[in-house]
């Protein structure tokens, strides 16, 4: 396995015209599992190498360890734990997890099920009489946003305000100084500041007022490890709000699209509701919402597949490509909810394994089950649908369907 220059493939993947179907390009990329780019960064595209590197303690999530400074917006704010290494990462993630999952808060996610079902059914009720539905605007977007707002304690009415910020932030994630206008980056940074200020304001009201939402819990926690600072709480809330926005929306939309493209499986799901659990796993492999981890830094020299990636290098991880690697998954381009041993990279792997994974699963299971049960013979209006700009968080921007 040698290192070669394959800039073309990567650039074609990043180009918007490939968004509807990047998978053949991923196959091309996988011919060189560890590919050195012209700018000195490395692209990793095969399952084995991806899982290897995601468990490698020499891989850093902290921009400060990149030898080439990072232009993107995250270089300029208090990092959330997703952009930190142990021990800070571990401490913050643990402190956040205290309020979100076991062992301290068991049953939080499963306990949300009735609420999720109610929100989902409310949204579908509004489809009544509509001939044409946009799965994104009418359903897949409002649903997780309602849920994450409720969970965090962010007023749902403020959605139009932070929607703009979140969009600008996501838009700046793949900022490329060579091809993108500087405005894109500036907008992203401005939006980050605005969102931070906004969340800081909400946090202030929580101090000394215990409550059930995550902001209130984090603000008033007295665990053995003490409390997070306000900055830490705000950066955690930032992360959860953005992640809660942009990933589940795509997962649900990709799911509906995939089901509409596989009518027999859609019918099977109607007949066997339990199929939803392995089906969502397969979806996370086959059409995941997060395609790329845009950067990691080599903290030391990293040897992988007989290549040494020098300290300070930027590393790009092509997760969605790894989940379609034929060396790991039999017949990887087939959507097969009966697949066994489905250790996909849909939520990443290692210490940064998606924090919201259990919730994203449950949301998507609830959403797709209800859609399939309640939609009357739905059909796609355009295939492929139009896609959002981001190659990192990939999904349709609209998904119009008709029902009879």
């Amino acid at each position: 396995m040698t290192t070669t220059h394959t800039p073309d493939t990567l650039h074609r993947i990043l180009d918007h015209s490939s968004r509807a179907d990047p998978y053949p390009l991923y196959a091309e990329l996988r011919k060189t599992p560890v590919a050195l780019q012209e700018d000195g960064s490395y692209v990793i595209s095969t399952y084995r190498e991806l899982t290897g590197i995601l468990h490698d303690p020499h891989l850093s999530s902290d921009v400060r360890h990149l030898s080439r400074p990072m232009p993107a917006a995250e270089a300029h704010t208090t990092p959330s734990f997703i952009n930190l290494d142990p021990p800070e990462h571990d401490r913050l993630r643990r402190l956040a997890m205290r309020h979100f999952g076991p062992p301290h808060t068991p049953g939080l996610v499963t306990g949300m099920e009735p609420d999720l079902t109610a929100v989902v059914n409310g949204l579908i009720d509004d489809f009544a009489g509509k001939e044409r539905i946009d799965i994104v605007d009418d359903f897949a977007y409002p649903f997780p946003v309602t849920v994450i707002c409720h969970l965090l304690g962010v007023p749902r009415e403020d959605e139009p305000r932070f929607h703009v910020w979140v969009n600008a932030i996501v838009d700046s994630l793949d900022y490329n100084p060579k091809t993108d206008p500087k405005e894109k980056l500036d907008n992203g940074m401005q939006a980050r500041n605005d969102l931070t200020q906004y969340l800081g304001g909400l946090l202030e009201q929580r101090h000394g007022r215990p409550g059930d939402d995550l902001l209130a819990r984090m603000a008033n926690d007295d665990g053995p490890e003490g409390r997070m600072t306000d900055d830490e709480i705000v950066s955690t809330a930032n992360l959860l709000l953005i992640a809660g926005h942009e990933t589940t929306v795509n997962l649900i939309t990709n799911g509906m699209l995939t089901l509409l493209r596989h009518p027999q499986i859609l019918q099977r799901l109607r007949d066997e509701p339990d199929l939803i659990v392995p089906l969502v796993e397969e979806l996370l492999r086959y059409e995941p919402p997060v395609h790329i981890i845009p950067w990691r830094a080599a903290y030391s020299d990293i040897s992988i597949a007989d290549t040494v990636i020098p300290k300070g290098s930027q590393i790009m991880l092509m997760l969605a490509s790894g989940s379609r690697d034929p060396a790991r998954f039999h017949d990887p381009d087939r959507f097969n909810p009966d697949r066994q041993d489905n250790q996909h990279l849909g939520f990443g792997s290692g210490i940064h394994l998606c924090f919201g994974g259990p919730m994203a699963r449950l949301e998507t299971q609830t959403a797709l089950t209800a859609l399939v049960r309640r939609l009357e013979r739905p059909t796609l209006v355009t295939d492929p649908p139009p896609y959002r700009p981001s190659p990192i968080l990939r999904g349709p921007i609209h998904l119009h369907i008709k029902q009879s």
């Binding site: 290897g52 468990h55 303690p57 020499h58 850093s60 142990p86 020299d301 040494v308 790991r328």
Partner: protein, 464 residues
């Protein structure tokens, strides 16, 4: 008939008998069916009831959280077997290919899998072991009666032996606010498995949680009252303690006595086999139709100089069962070697402990990540300059990386700094071998990913 035809006929109509119907036995049976075996399958087990899982017995069952009866192993698929339960096998006749049962029946086979595991080592004085309130923990019934004794609110529990089982039970006593004394002959808990450095950490953990830990002493006598109930223990240093429950956690005895006279290389150390799980006979010759898996197996590991190693690890039982089942149905050229790097886990005092590799195969250890005082760290073990094992405390997500280091005979101590290196890590020598060079001393490396492609190559071939 060619050998391919014979194999086809065997896969279709052959007779396979599995002796020992627990974790390894059940998983092997499932794998046999998965791989298309349609012949007759017989499961022989001396315990009554369906196969169940043992790790929860010293954990969730003792807290009272999971009833002992709820530990039944999940079934991966229907195995369509004949179950002969509640009766031990007491002989194996290799001349006529029969398993002999204690009730006099004979069961014929074409191929047999032996997975009879280990049983708890009882207290060495029979009359004292029989006292009311003296327990071992290996079976569901054991765990159930110990849980009942703990629920009755004992004044103190004495645990004899601070290996994994003993330490886990001590942890649960503290969780349930029961006073507990742990007696260990070694200088610290877990020393036999993980060495003195980690033993020291384990000792701190126990004491910090209020365990009365006594190391370097032997329990010499268990004393009962007039009603035959355990009341007091005597130690080799002349002291005594009063307690009403004693848990004997002194490891296991391999269930091989029934194979005496069979001509297999079986004894107190287990049943020797090759990496394909085929049993060796007394001469060290490989048998063709006798396979072994799980705690009772003693398997050579090329990574560890081909030494025969027996492991009492859950994952090992599962993986060996899969390899054994595959090989039972395969021609020589399609057989798989069992080359997994061992892994083990335990939970005690709120800490998740996990290991990869064989920590006893080491001459040095170094903390590579995290913080020992916080009980969150990874320690790497090395033998003559290569990584041979690693142990994590609340840091298990990194172990895949260390598994790779072990498989590729990476140099010890691991040379490159990581973000979370402890300040108190031993100073590292200046002169490192390049990370691409194999360390001295390794003769082989493991390559491949899936069981079907995993192979060992000689180190000199691998990186020419």
């Amino acid at each position: 008939m060619g050998s391919a035809d014979t194999l086809q006929a065997f896969r279709r109509d052959g007779r396979i008998v599995i002796v020992g119907a627990s974790l390894a036995g059940l998983r092997a049976a499932e794998a046999l069916r998965e791989e298309g075996f349609t012949g007759s399958l017989t499961m022989i087990g001396d315990e009554l009831g369906e196969p169940y899982d043992r790790p929860p017995l010293s954990k969730q069952v003792l807290t009272g959280w999971v009833p002992a009866g709820n530990t039944t192993l999940p079934r991966r698929r229907d195995i369509d077997a004949q179950w002969l339960l509640g009766v031990p096998a007491d002989g194996l006749d290799l001349a006529t290919n029969h398993v002999h049962l204690a009730d006099g029946r004979d069961v014929p086979f074409d191929r047999v899998l032996i997975s009879t595991g280990v049983r708890a080592r009882p207290w060495f004085v029979e009359a004292e072991a029989a006292l009311d309130g003296v327990f071992v923990v290996r079976t569901r019934e054991h765990a159930e009666s110990l849980q009942r004794a703990m629920a009755a609110g004992p004044s103190r529990v004495l645990i004899i032996g601070a290996g994994f089982t003993g330490s886990e039970i001590a942890s649960i006593c503290r969780e349930r606010d029961i006073p507990v004394t742990v007696a260990e002959l070694a200088p610290a808990p877990l020393v036999g498995a993980l060495g003195a450095m980690i033993g020291g950490v384990a000792a701190d953990m126990q004491r910090a949680h209020g365990v009365d830990l006594r190391c370097g002493v032997k329990v010499t006598k268990l004393e009962g009252d007039a009603q035959g109930h355990f009341r007091r223990a005597h130690f080799s240093d002349g002291t005594t303690i009063d307690a009403d429950v004693a848990v004997v956690a002194l490891g296991g005895i391999r269930n091989t006595e029934w194979l005496r006279g069979s001509g297999l290389a079986a004894g107190p150390w287990g049943i020797a086999c090759d990496t394909g799980c085929r049993a060796l006979d007394l001469n060290g010759l490989i048998t063709d139709d006798i396979f072994v898996a799980g705690d009772v197996a003693r398997c050579p590991n090329p990574i560890y100089e081909y030494r025969l190693i027996s492991l009492e690890h859950w994952v090992n039982a599962v993986e060996q069962a899969k390899v054994a089942a595959h090989n039972m149905l395969s021609a020589q050229a399609d057989r798989w070697p069992h080359l997994s790097i061992p892994t083990f886990w335990s939970i005690q005092f709120g800490v998740n402990i996990k290991s990869v590799g064989v920590p006893t195969f080491a001459d040095e250890v170094v903390v590579t990540q995290g913080s020992v005082p916080d009980h969150r760290f990874v320690a790497a073990y090395g033998y003559q300059g290569r990584v041979t094992a690693a142990v994590s405390f609340n840091n298990a997500k990194w172990l895949d990386h260390y598994r790779q280091l072990i498989e590729t005979a990476a140099p010890f101590p691991p040379p490159c700094p990581t973000p979370d290196e402890p300040a108190d890590a031993k100073p590292v020598p200046v002169d490192f071998p390049s990370p691409k060079l194999l360390a001295q001393g390794a003769t082989v490396v493991v390559t491949g990913h899936d069981p079907g492609e995993r192979r060992v190559t000689a180190a000199w071939q691998h990186h020419q």
